[in-house]
């Protein structure tokens, strides 16, 4: 095998190189030559090409994401201990604890090989959290597929769900929530966004940097094989249409057992105090880990690539650098600690090898068989990649779409029509029970899960003594975002915020996973810019910083982009998880209140989608002040024990919220339509900043008094009984057998069992 060394590169400046195939543009290649003062070696080219890919460099999104950095770097309960730019944001939650959470997409790999794509998506985000110094304590998954009855959905969905479950269950991380959404734009472009949350003591925070000349660079975990070579630049940055099957690289296969060992081993390494710097290996593998560690450090780094343990001895140096083999980590360790480091790895049966050293050269140099194959300034690889100001423009079709309002669609009016509409809605793919999916996830492991599916947010206990805990929800509504991406991002934020708030938690921080089409389409780029602007403005208003996130572009098939899908995750804090509010109605006699105002809002609604296959008009109005007020009311109500259940109102409106609340414990409810409201609007409108709560009779006066004092709209809409029916007085009544059948049969009958 002839190796392209720095020496050869200097001597053969004219040699042609496959920069275009690697996804680089002509000017990018020129820039690399300028930086190096010569042509890059093939190893350097590999490195730059992966690190300058859209996925790693955020070159199209960076200029917009800056808005998040301008937000206040403080949450309602404390400081950000690490923010955007680190592997994941870290939030002080009190009592000396810090929480870190982040979402990441694994969309295209999950289309190619659903099980492994989804599994390795979970594995990747878990390592991000681990690399911050935290113990991972929970995962969530936000999933989007083509229509439920499409043949490819039957291939992709079961594999993705089994992969999320297979990996997360085997790691022993409770799955505490997520989403499953169906829309035709996701055919051929499913979205698999995985979120992980971890907890640490403040002093355990670790950062990804290589400093201290003489410190050793240790690669530990799985051996390096030919997995997903080029996956980052090819898989994540180009659409399938243009690349075709020939360019599909081999898929990465996950080994969750290895990852479990890696977690326990790494936590023991942290506890032993032998880690000076740490970085996970994800997309772009060693290229990314070495250049990012060196770039964030204060000197340089030298790596001997021959020391990397290989699964396949025929790999070339550029392939070793690009390999995306899973379950690997890289640590910077002081020489005196190396022995202890190795002992701990041996205890966990984790292979570890010193592959390099931190130095003061200011360069990242990589040696292979005694010759230098990489000699670069690390910042130019990791942090100073290209930045694009992509043109963006409000798409021409938007006016027409917004003008096609839903107000002219025929509505049900009689009680019978409302009844059958409700049954049809609760059985529809986006509103039906998710149990087929969530039953495949372990929600109990670790013994701290206070709320998980089918609750609005997952709630985890952090501390047995104080009861300190967190709540988490992830949400997005692509149809809303299509109608108005600025509002759509805020609506996603509002829903996640509200889902956290209904548990009684105080929402404090935000992460996101922004899934869009091609940035080379000015219309898509505009959607992206608007969504970022909307999310940043929304976060400013709510006082919740964006602590990190992920961007996935090029989600399109041919010219058809997915619905713009800004997935937003909100983290909340509960001082005592014993005070959490569950979503299910349990006690007959408790009074049902609707909090918030209901307007006639059906643009982008589930009703328009299910009944009329219609998408047009404007999404429901955003009112973040009201969301904030609602959250405070719920927080106080939980503290003072004023409500026995609370469920947010979103997709499918009050009808959906009531159905979910009554079915939870199989009680019953009698509901009446408030004066002055049209029954259809009352039941199905998707107005925001609303929740349905159950109030014990003795607390009613205090509860309504609190709402009045805050001038927050609250309407008595019903009472819990034990009749086993949902009755809307004067309209209709449905027995639970029928209701359950409608709500629970959809996924099993479409997917089997």
């Amino acid at each position: 095998m002839t190796v392209d060394t720095v020496e050869t590169a200097t001597k053969t400046p004219e040699q042609s190189q496959p920069w275009a195939e690697l996804g680089l543009k002509a000017d990018e290649y020129e820039r690399i030559r300028d930086i190096l003062g010569r042509r890059p070696t093939s190893s350097e080219l590999a490195m730059y090409s992966v690190m300058w890919s859209e996925h790693c460099s955020y070159k199209s999104s960076k200029v917009h994401l800056r808005r998040f950095g301008e937000l206040q770097q403080e949450t309602p309960v404390g400081k950000l201990l690490a923010g955007i730019g680190e592997n994941a944001g870290v939030i002080d939650v009190g009592h000396g604890y810090a929480v870190t959470f982040k979402a990441e997409s694994h969309n295209h790999p999950s289309y190619v090989e659903p099980y492994q794509g989804a599994a390795t998506g979970v594995g990747g985000i878990v390592r991000d959290i681990l690399a911050m110094g935290a113990r991972p304590i929970g995962v969530m998954d936000s999933l989007r597929f083509g229509p439920l009855d499409a043949p490819d959905t039957a291939r992709v969905l079961p594999g993705v769900v089994a992969g999320v479950g297979g990996y997360g269950n085997c790691l022993g991380l409770p799955n505490i929530g997520g989403e499953v959404v169906f829309d035709s734009t996701y055919s051929g472009n499913p979205l698999v966004n995985a979120l992980c949350v971890g907890v640490m003591r403040h002093e355990d925070l670790h950062l990804a940097k290589a400093s201290g000349a003489g410190n050793k660079v240790i690669l530990y975990g799985a051996r390096t094989g030919g997995d997903g070579i080029g996956g980052v630049s090819v898989l994540a940055s180009e659409t399938f249409e243009s690349s075709g099957p020939a360019k599909r690289p081999s898929v990465q296969v996950g080994d969750p057992f290895m990852e479990k060992l890696l977690i326990e081993c790494t936590l023991e390494l942290f506890a032993a105090g032998v880690v000076a710097g740490i970085q996970d290996l994800g997309g772009a593998g060693l290229s990314c880990a070495t250049s990012e560690l060196a770039s964030a450090g204060d000197g340089g780094m030298h790596v001997e690539l021959d020391r990397v343990p290989l699964r396949d001895s025929t790999l070339a140096p550029e392939e070793i650098l690009m390999s995306e083999s899973q379950e690997r980590m890289m640590a910077v360790v002081e020489p005196a600690d190396v022995e202890r480091f190795m002992e701990i790895c041996a205890k966990w049966d984790v292979q570890a090898d010193v592959i390099g050293e931190v130095n003061e050269s200011g360069r990242l140099t990589i040696e292979w068989r005694g010759e230098t194959v990489v000699d670069v300034p690390p910042r130019t690889v990791a942090h100073e990649g290209p930045v694009y100001q992509r043109p963006y423009e409000r798409p021409g079709w938007l006016d027409e779409l917004q003008a096609a309002a839903s107000s002219s669609l025929p509505r049900p009016s009689s009680g019978d029509e409302l009844r059958s509409t409700l049954l049809r809605m609760v059985a529809s793919p986006n509103l039906c029970s998710r149990a087929w999916v969530t039953d495949q996830y372990d929600r109990y492991v670790l013994g701290n899960t206070v709320l998980a599916q089918p609750e609005d947010a997952g709630v985890l206990r952090l501390d047995d003594d104080s009861g300190l805990g967190i709540a988490l929800s992830v949400d997005a509504n692509g149809r809303y975002a299509k109608l108005d991406p600025y509002a759509g991002a805020q609506l996603a934020l509002a829903e996640a915020y509200r889902n956290v708030a209904v548990t009684g938690a105080k929402p404090v921080a935000v992460t996101d996973c922004l899934n869009f089409g091609s940035p080379e389409d000015p219309g898509v780029m505009w959607q992206f810019a608007e969504a970022v602007r909307g999310l940043a403005d929304g976060c400013q208003k709510l006082g919740t910083p964006v602590t990190g996130g992920n961007v996935s572009l090029y989600n399109q098939t041919g010219d058809t982009a997915i619905l713009p899908t800004p997935v937003v995750g909100v983290l909340g804090v509960l001082d005592d998880v014993a005070r959490r509010i569950p979503s299910g109605f349990r006690t007959p006699g408790h009074i049902i209140y609707l909090l918030g105002d209901t307007a006639d809002e059906f643009g982008g609604s589930e009703w328009a989608h299910v009944v009329h296959s219609h998408l047009g008009g404007l999404p429901p109005a955003v009112d973040l002040d009201a969301e904030r007020e609602l959250a405070e009311i719920l927080h106080s109500a939980s503290r003072d024990g004023l409500v026995s259940a609370a469920h947010d109102v979103s997709d499918g409106g009050v009808a959906q919220a009531l159905v979910e609340s009554v079915l939870r414990h199989g009680v019953g409810a009698r509901v009446w339509v408030p004066d002055g409201l049209d029954p259809f609007v009352f039941l199905f409108s998707e107005s925001t900043a609303r929740a349905v709560v159950a109030v014990p009779h003795p607390e009613e006066v205090r509860f309504t008094g609190m709402c009045e004092a805050r001038r927050f709209p609250h309407t008595r809409i019903g009472v819990i009984d034990d009749e086993g029916t949902l009755e809307v007085q004067g309209q209709f009544s449905i027995g639970f057998d029928e209701l359950r059948r409608a709500h629970e049969q959809t996924l099993p009958s479409a997917l089997g069992e």
Partner: protein, 223 residues
Amino acid sequence: MTIGVVTFPGSLDDGDAARAVRVAGGDAVRLWHGDADLRGVDAVVLPGGFSYGDYLRCGAIARFAPIMEPLIRAAHGGMPVLGICNGFQVLCEAHLLPGALVRNDHRKFVCRDQRLRIENASTAWTSSYQKDQEIVIPLKNGEGGYVADEATLDRLETDGRVVARYLDVNPNGSYRDIAGVTNERGNVVGLMPHPEHAVEELTGPGTDGLGFFASVLESLVAA
């Protein structure tokens, strides 16, 4: 009273099992798979999880861990041993319990709150329950189908060695709805569902699982 909880590589519910022991009023001692030493404990829990990734067959690799030698000896000598989920699989692989656990009949992992009937309330781990008592505890497994040949099943039935049976639904295709079995002496119990996830109101479907840990503590005091 000290109850050992073994950690194999890939054990997941070891912390929960130790917590359950403490909630029930016992002292939990963590045991490491690689040490052939039970550290003087009075009873042992083999916890749930995916030991060795559950590759090959669940429990098949863990069964050969160094800790299993003294454990098998102690079990033969009458020490109470409870295998939960993966631990049950390990006990079957070690032939401390008859039968085996195979892939769920629906081929998916399943996590649900499961109703059970306690059929034998005289083992070391079930004495604080009433016979025929119904309880709800979480179940979560991918390979939880209990199988054995007909003769073995018949023998288990006539000897009263079926410890617990699934009610409402059979979640994994277990023969005769069997959720747990015991050895002849009643000191070794294997259970597919997870009592350790039902010891606190806050984090489980109730506290019905506590009885398993209370039982063994009582039986140790009585002994």
